[in-house]
Symmetry: D2
Amino acid sequence: MIIVMTKDSSTDQLRLVEKRILDHGLKPQTFRGQERCVVGVLGTIPPDLKDEMELLPGVIEVIRVTKPYKLASREFHPENSVVMVGNVMVGGPEPVVMAGPCSVEDEEQMVSTARAVKAAGAQILRGGAYKPRSSPYSFRGMGLDGLKLLQTAKQETGMPIITEVMTPADVDIVAQYSDVLQIGARNMQNYNLLDAVGELDKPVMVKRGLAASYEEWLLAAEYVMAGGNTKVMLCERGIRAFEQYTRFTMDVAAIPVIKRLSHLPIIADPSHSTGKWYLVTPVALAAIAAGAHGLLIEVHPNPDIAKCDGPQSLTFANFSNLMHQVHAVTAAIAS
Amino acid sequence: MIIVMTKDSSTDQLRLVEKRILDHGLKPQTFRGQERCVVGVLGTIPPDLKDEMELLPGVIEVIRVTKPYKLASREFHPENSVVMVGNVMVGGPEPVVMAGPCSVEDEEQMVSTARAVKAAGAQILRGGAYKPRSSPYSFRGMGLDGLKLLQTAKQETGMPIITEVMTPADVDIVAQYSDVLQIGARNMQNYNLLDAVGELDKPVMVKRGLAASYEEWLLAAEYVMAGGNTKVMLCERGIRAFEQYTRFTMDVAAIPVIKRLSHLPIIADPSHSTGKWYLVTPVALAAIAAGAHGLLIEVHPNPDIAKCDGPQSLTFANFSNLMHQVHAVTAAIAS
Amino acid sequence: MIIVMTKDSSTDQLRLVEKRILDHGLKPQTFRGQERCVVGVLGTIPPDLKDEMELLPGVIEVIRVTKPYKLASREFHPENSVVMVGNVMVGGPEPVVMAGPCSVEDEEQMVSTARAVKAAGAQILRGGAYKPRSSPYSFRGMGLDGLKLLQTAKQETGMPIITEVMTPADVDIVAQYSDVLQIGARNMQNYNLLDAVGELDKPVMVKRGLAASYEEWLLAAEYVMAGGNTKVMLCERGIRAFEQYTRFTMDVAAIPVIKRLSHLPIIADPSHSTGKWYLVTPVALAAIAAGAHGLLIEVHPNPDIAKCDGPQSLTFANFSNLMHQVHAVTAAIAS
Amino acid sequence: MIIVMTKDSSTDQLRLVEKRILDHGLKPQTFRGQERCVVGVLGTIPPDLKDEMELLPGVIEVIRVTKPYKLASREFHPENSVVMVGNVMVGGPEPVVMAGPCSVEDEEQMVSTARAVKAAGAQILRGGAYKPRSSPYSFRGMGLDGLKLLQTAKQETGMPIITEVMTPADVDIVAQYSDVLQIGARNMQNYNLLDAVGELDKPVMVKRGLAASYEEWLLAAEYVMAGGNTKVMLCERGIRAFEQYTRFTMDVAAIPVIKRLSHLPIIADPSHSTGKWYLVTPVALAAIAAGAHGLLIEVHPNPDIAKCDGPQSLTFANFSNLMHQVHAVTAAIAS
């Protein structure tokens, strides 16, 4: 941590800053520039020290130098982490595609979609049983019945299941019926929920919040890992920026950035980030070309009558074409 | 709802659009412009119809005309709502100030702060027992012990209490020890939590999410109201924009906008939105001048040693000055 | 400047960093923490050094400690600057109101508006002769004829004139016909234009760019001042954030922030920031309560038929009410 | 255009709206829903009509249905446009790579870079002679001497030149020495500059402004085309969002969106959007996979000593690797 003093800070102010650092069992190291005096702090910095130091008289700025996350950081875990989902390797050399409908609607829909996406090459089946919806009057998912239909589809196809959990009280039941628990963007800072999935021994995918910085996102992963569950993957699903033509703004650079800052696998969601089916394929290929470890794609037997988010769902035929191109781009960047 | 067709949409495409509208028991009304054909939809629109129509061939855009929220809307409730907190009127002609520390730390801190803010003119006491913190390693609040200290402070001063609830499982206990339940910005779209407080007969304050549009924010209020609890107030606490000098960007125009779109009281939080104590007073006065029904202000006996968010806490003396100016500005805009 | 080395940077990497600093005639000061080694740089830092240092092997981050602007900075000019416009003092204790139509349309419109805003208490007359419009097919202003009508209105009322200049070739003519030259938000980083007005001995108002940080905005002022013209005032006119209900998002905290970082006067524009006439008064009062040195307000004899930006123009009657409240709030915050 | 009336608008208010539409020689078509009355406007809508209608009593919202740009729109020009730069086809099936240093520094630097990027497969040479810099104290380019060095490099290698023009007064000289004139992001709404390049018969590349919506960006292109110059290409170079780790946020979805809305070629700039050399290759490949017609890449013989923006420049070796992968991804998506 670096503490920057104002140009005309007094010696007494400097002494107080140094004393506070020593009070925490840390060591101050002061150096004086032509225009500024700055104090370095050596040792392990408690998370709230920055706030405390900013208040002292004569201090103009406090700059954190070490990252506030450790378990999620590549510096403390240089090798890539691989998260096993059944026998599917997430974070390995091959990108993993998780596909399926936005919402579980009925058995026919789930099983036919599972068969179609499996045939096209998807490895994990997605489907929402508990749906976060901005309006209380929208369809909010089938709940436990939906989880059971996901199980049926798993039995029929052998595909592991990823599905969203929205609240701590549902963690056990969702964990029982699924292989990966998804934390949605709107819950990325629902800390009780992060704590709850941190106690599982089951993969968790943490989607980036609409307005979350990389650091906040990695701290959300850190919550899960601090609870003891290191089977964490991340998912970039678009941030909120000023452009309203697309539902969100896909931050494709997040993929190489996260790979640099963290050892955790990084997945991309071109369906939710764009909100329009005709943008899904180009953005999915972009994510693969940028190095994503996988994709999360909405597919529906008949997007016209999907119970939610139809505009971004692919038909089976379009999904099959997408998979063909995903393989080609994967081969191209590996060459 | 208005459905805009592409320039070269066919008659068959138009017929399909009209048929779908009729299938929902609604009535299409088509008119043809020089460059466009558009179809109006008359009747009560189900929330997911927009998604469905966007998918039809020949459709270029679907525009919602009625607001997706009703209970929170001024159109359906033209008079201002007043929420009573004990015998404090929130939403009436006088702005209400809710003040206190970021976190409950100990009895001495809570009681002395309660006395000081009451003496200065605050009507409601704030203090966090459950704290949402971006790092799992930060102080996360005293929990139930904190709620009990809030009660002690209430007994000593008679001030009603506002405090945050973070998860559905805590709603009952927080409701038991407080007079207003606060939904934090990071939980504005934690729908299970909104449902849970919607079942109470107790005031709820819904803070705006970091990236929430006015519509999404009002829909969060609608969740609570749809559950039967109409004692809802809103709080603008800054949005995330590109500027990083302030912690968030206070959207002061939100105050008159919300007063136009909704009948619910609107409070402003200059402490969290700015993140710097020396910005709290000017931004608080700005909110009052813009017509806010109240303020939420962090005050601490000694901000230097506050357990969280010290940089934005006011001292007792600064808070007292703030109150003096709040009264003056209130009188000025009423004149 | 602080250079942060990676955890496992080598001694050779550190030596290279130190050598580069010495090559620039500066002095490195190294200190080693438990997890990091950092190097401080003492002396006057050239603007491009940060870029250079970031590239060296072993360097993870470079943090600038001194601000990149000097002439605009309060640290180097602690007293408030006052800019005289005729005999109107901008930056003094009384807020200055600049009012008038978005565009100059005809003599009757300009003169009647000038008389009305003067009668209501405005000190400076605004009106656009050269209009930046997002569409090439919109009305783009009367040009020189518009400047002449501004002069007429000045002769009739004695009010000094503020008007926008869009390109270096027009600087001389606009300077000849006006008392303050306005640099619009879209031209805030039109450096040739900033250079051109920097050569004048005439007041310049620099509006904040739609996406400009405080630092970039102050650097735009620095451009003008570096050219020798220190008669600079700033204008907050709303930034682009995700909310689309208002035209832009008024960043009211910018007012106290700029007053802290800079000695230059800070004006607020509630008309362009909100884009809706019914939001202008509450946001104007908010700006005054936050400490703005003045306001820029659109007023039109008949907003219904204004040639541009009618939705945000006030009628004479509404403007007169606004002035009444501005005086009341000014007195309130001075009390 | 669709005009939405408030729930309780009166018949008189409706009549006034209809009358105004008729006054403009347009035809109103009214339909009444259960909750709303809306009026459609048939015919060619003048750009300022929306503002005018919004002001009328009883009007709650005005929605534009036709796009405000025509020449740039795919609806009015369904086939892709190809812009010829010398004999290089921009907008055809093969992506075009424009590479070179941020700034022209000296002959040796320019010629060696030109040879290296040509050898690696780049088709157009970039280099800045006039540099927009946020600080007035930074290196601002060599000006005419720089243009001459670009000519030298062209003579040595046969590569056409792209370089930035910052102000109308420089348009002629820049046009004389270059093959494509670049309008930088900060000048995207410098309308005098757009007008000036609109009079040329030479290709122009319009970079997206930091805060420009797709519509504003296409309107900037429309400015150039309305002047008679249809040789326009667009360049996505990152927008300003809240994340500060990368310099800007590359909006990769802009590529397929622009291809849908417009017929103009779309180029991507991964160097400026990311600001970090190690992100350039993954983001460049992402852009190609998303369908970009070309790339703009900074390359420098020795990024460590580049006069500007060194952190994002590639070495010759890294650029050569990038080109190898660009070809592979291009082949993959064409397969």
